[in-house]
Amino acid sequence: MAAAACVFLAPRILAQEREIRVAAAADLKFAMTELAQQFEGQTHDKVSVTYGSSGNFFSQIQNGAPFDLFFSADIEYPKKLEAAGFAEPGTLYEYAVGKIVIWAPYQTPTDLKNQGWNALLSLAVQRIAIANPDHAPYGRAAVAAMQKAGVYEQARFRLVYGENIAQAAQFVQSGNAQIGIIAKSLALSPAMKDGEIWEIPADMYSPIEQGAIVLKSAKNKQGAQKFLDFLKSESGRRVLEKYGFALPNMPKANSAVPSRP
């Protein structure tokens, strides 16, 4: 009886063969929803997305996590997966370059436009939210930019770390931190419209190169490749651009890393 109940209640994984299972970095949270919607409208394939931190996915995939496609906020992870034989060779694609911005909710009495970096040091700011620089690329970029701007030494005692960039954004959005350095893609999302954005000049941190790759263990390789091709298409690129990603300059089908001829 109990066994029968378990079988009956178990999620029907096999029923949806055409599903494309995507592991996506947290900075894609809003862009990916729109990408998936457009893609589903065109192809009737189903895209199911799991969001998380790229480093976590990297460990999980090496331990057999059932994904078809991996979008990493740090291209190093898919590169390593490819080198270690966990990915389909030649499918690595640099889909975007992430940008960071300073974001403050309107309640925080700062004037980001005029203050810029100094807003982080303002008296009204007790907590600055960033992603954990130990393993999140956006966190690393935030620290590098603060160091370059010469505010890190004063700001570091105010830092709080989100487990990933989306949690850092949530810390500021909820008002628990007064200001944050977050992904532009999140700052542009509807949920964060009640705040001010100050873009950090791109030369203040090394580019946050994002890479996607089809996994060796993928059940739906064809679908995964199709979704990746959609990302390279004009409409896919437009969505990424809309959410504040810089696009790597390249012709339509090829990335910096040569894919199939």
Binding site: S59, V160, Y161, E163
Partner: protein
């Protein structure tokens, strides 16, 4: 290897279990001896953290502690800063999280005290407080220790709530479970493993002590 996070977790667990014992004692007493019919409602509330996912507790704790939440507003008015990302904030969230682990063993042991002893104590002229101190408490010592140890161990192993309200500050809110998670994410499996093993051994030791006390294999005090 950094012991900071382990020490922090110990400090947190000690604070929480000590405060919980003080808070849980009168509540457990009332729940054990009250004859009010609506008691089951209070019991249900006390047991809630057992069934609620840490995300629910963490989510509400973060909102309550934020500048728009009641607790956060009060705290900002009193101390000038919010509660999230502070050690105090963690203590409050952990008290909620471990509440049933302190209250339930106390109720069970208070209820198992022989009623005749309580009556005898009353007939001999002892007040309620004196009866509690001289009769109930000594006889409930295993329950008290179980409550203390379980709430300590449960707080030591807390993860989800801390992840949601902590902000991962070294020495303030980076507990050992968060540290282990970070190490795994940074692919430092060796460091993660060392901390995890320490936690495993401590947890086993703590549980073995509780079960030994309950089975009367070991009596760290002398019963008279």
């Amino acid at each position: 290897m950094s012991m900071d996070s382990l020490l922090l977790s110990f400090r947190l667990a000690l604070c929480v279990s000590a405060i919980l014992l003080v808070l849980a004692m009168p509540l457990a007493y009332w729940l054990a001896y009250s004859s009010w019919r609506g008691k089951f409602l209070v019991e249900s509330i006390v047991a809630l953290p057992l069934v609620l996912p840490p995300t629910v507790l963490g989510f509400y704790a973060l909102i309550a502690m934020g500048p728009r939440g009641p607790l956060g507003k009060l705290w900002i008015a009193l101390f000038g800063h919010g509660l999230a990302f502070t050690f105090t904030g963690l203590v409050i969230a952990s008290i909620l999280y471990s509440f049933p682990f302190a209250v339930q063993p106390l109720i069970a042991s208070f209820e198992s005290v022989d009623q005749r002893l309580l009556h005898a104590s009353a007939i001999l002229g002892a007040g309620k407080l004196r009866t509690f101190r001289r009769v109930i408490l000594p006889l409930s010592l295993p329950g008290v220790i179980t409550a203390l140890v379980l709430s300590f161990a449960h707080t030591l192993g807390e993860f989800g709530v801390v992840l949601m309200v902590g902000g991962n500050l070294a020495g303030v809110t980076r507990t050992v479970s968060i540290d282990i998670y970070d190490r795994v994410q940074s692919l430092e499996y060796g460091a993660a493993n060392r901390m995890a093993i320490i936690l495993l051994v401590i947890s086993f030791g703590v549980l073995a002590a509780v079960y030994a006390i309950n089975r009367r294999v070991w009596t760290p005090w002398t019963a008279k």
